[in-house]
């Protein structure tokens, strides 16, 4: 299979069918390379063999749910710590940083947030956070924002790193009955201003908690006003959207925008529609860590592109 992909890639004609085949590899680890806005897929071996090898750029973790204590994982502290050990063991850590895409805590309790911060601190990395709906249950998340973003009213923000523009969006505040995730007018206005005047060739990395596409609205997996946000990024050549919430890897490519939901460090959730509800999926203790994970995002040298690699804790 990989030789076919190699052939296609060398001819520069990777097609939709090949992409879908790659997406089906799942557990083996798929590298999505984003070059000039056109997503292409490489096998891990291909990526490793690239001229000078890909250099690790940043790490994403998600859904640590500190405070969770049900059968699906009685020890989310332990699995988050295991994830941090994985991160500590990564090579070339200079300049490395991490994104946490929300549900840091299970019930927004100050002690849960403090425990998470302590365990994540072991990584020794700078961490950029966005909240999940579990983090904003008390006082609209003011404790979360104060602790992780530096001020109780600093919710969404952006920064530049690695030649890319990173945008942290919050889609778990002010939910409407019957609806999905929500960004809200104030944030959308901010986003439009934040992106205005930026070169379309700047790679964008958007990170948030709930999916920015309708991954499975029947379970609330989507964001009501995401279309508005995505209309602002249309002109950019390369847009990578990273999120959590669904506790499994789902990927989708739409034009120049690729969407990647991440595994949790705490417990898996069922694939869309395969269970009566999206509640925690109970699996045998010995397989739990094969369904939890961390995500590495690399820059492929000579390609000027980003690649996404999901690794389990097993």
């Amino acid at each position: 299979m990989s030789s076919t992909i190699d052939d296609d890639m060398s001819k520069g004609k990777l097609n939709r069918r090949t992409l879908l085949r790659c997406a089906a590899w799942g557990g083996a680890g798929v590298v999505w390379a984003l070059k000039g806005g056109v997503p292409t897929a490489l096998s891990l071996i291909d990526a490793a063999a690239a001229a000078e090898g890909p250099s690790l750029a940043f790490v994403q973790i998600s859904d640590s749910h500190i405070g969770f204590n049900k059968d699906a994982n009685p020890d989310p502290n332990g699995t988050l710590a295991a994830a941090m050990e994985k991160v500590r063991a990564l090579p070339n850590r200079g300049g490395l940083f991490m994104l946490h895409t929300g549900d840091v805590s299970h019930l927004s309790k100050p002690e849960e947030l403090a425990t998470a911060q302590q365990i994540i601190g072991v990584s020794g990395l700078d961490v950029h956070y966005v909240p999940g709906e579990h983090d904003v249950l008390i006082d609209h998340g003011s404790d979360f924002f104060a602790r992780f973003n530096g001020a109780p009213d600093r919710k969404w923000y952006s920064f530049d790193a690695l030649g890319a523009h990173f945008v942290a969006l919050v889609n778990v505040l002010d939910f409407r009955a019957g609806g999905l995730g929500r960004l809200g007018d104030e944030q959308l206005e901010w986003l439009e201003k934040d992106l205005r005047g930026r070169s379309a060739s700047t790679p964008l990395v958007i990170f948030t908690h709930m999916p920015l596409w309708n991954a499975y609205p029947e379970w609330g997996w989507g964001t009501d006003d995401s279309a508005q946000a995505l209309s602002y990024v249309k002109r950019f050549g390369s847009v990578t959207v990273l999120n959590g919430h669904v506790h499994q890897v789902l990927q989708k490519v739409e034009g120049h925008v690729s969407f990647h939901t991440a595994m949790s460090t705490a417990f898996p959730q069922p694939a869309p529609g395969t269970a009566p509800s999206p509640g925690p999926l109970k699996v045998p203790a010995e397989t739990l860590r094969s369904m939890l994970g961390v995500r590495e995002i690399t820059q492929v040298r000579g390609h000027g592109s980003l690649a996404v690699v999901d690794r389990t804790l097993a």
Partner: protein, 123 residues
């Protein structure tokens, strides 16, 4: 488990006090004794069951979270007396609605979860 129950009961007591304080009608008493299950709504599989419940005014409504995820019960109207704290698995929230009307509510963690309580005049 013991701790959870006490939190639930405290929430119930506060809910009842608030509801009756607002109604300012000391003659009206909760109807829980008439039929313990009259105002019971179970939360499971990310849904409220029954999703629409009709009760007479003053009935104590109790939402019991039997799901393996936390949920809330929050009125869609900002003024709604239905305002629960986060309910972890096994926790419950109670409130008595003295004023007849249609009360819509949802889970503020999972907003696709919605429900309705219809409160009818007592005769």
């Amino acid at each position: 488990m013991e701790k959870r129950r006490s939190i639930g009961l405290r929430a119930a007591a506060i809910g009842v006090l608030l509801a009756f304080g607002a109604a300012a009608d000391p003659a009206m008493k909760p109807q829980a004794a008439d039929n313990a299950d009259a105002g019971k709504i179970v939360i499971d599989n990310f849904a409220f069951e029954p999703s629409t419940l009709t009760v007479s005014a003053g009935t104590v409504l109790t939402w019991l979270n039997e799901d393996d995820a936390p949920h809330t019960v929050v009125g869609t109207d900002a003024e709604s007396p239905i305002q629960s704290p986060p309910l972890d698995s096994g926790e419950r929230y109670s409130v008595a609605l003295a004023k007849p009307g249609t009360y819509r509510y949802f889970c503020s963690l999972h907003p696709h979860m919605t429900g309705t309580v219809i409160v009818e005049q007592r005769f």
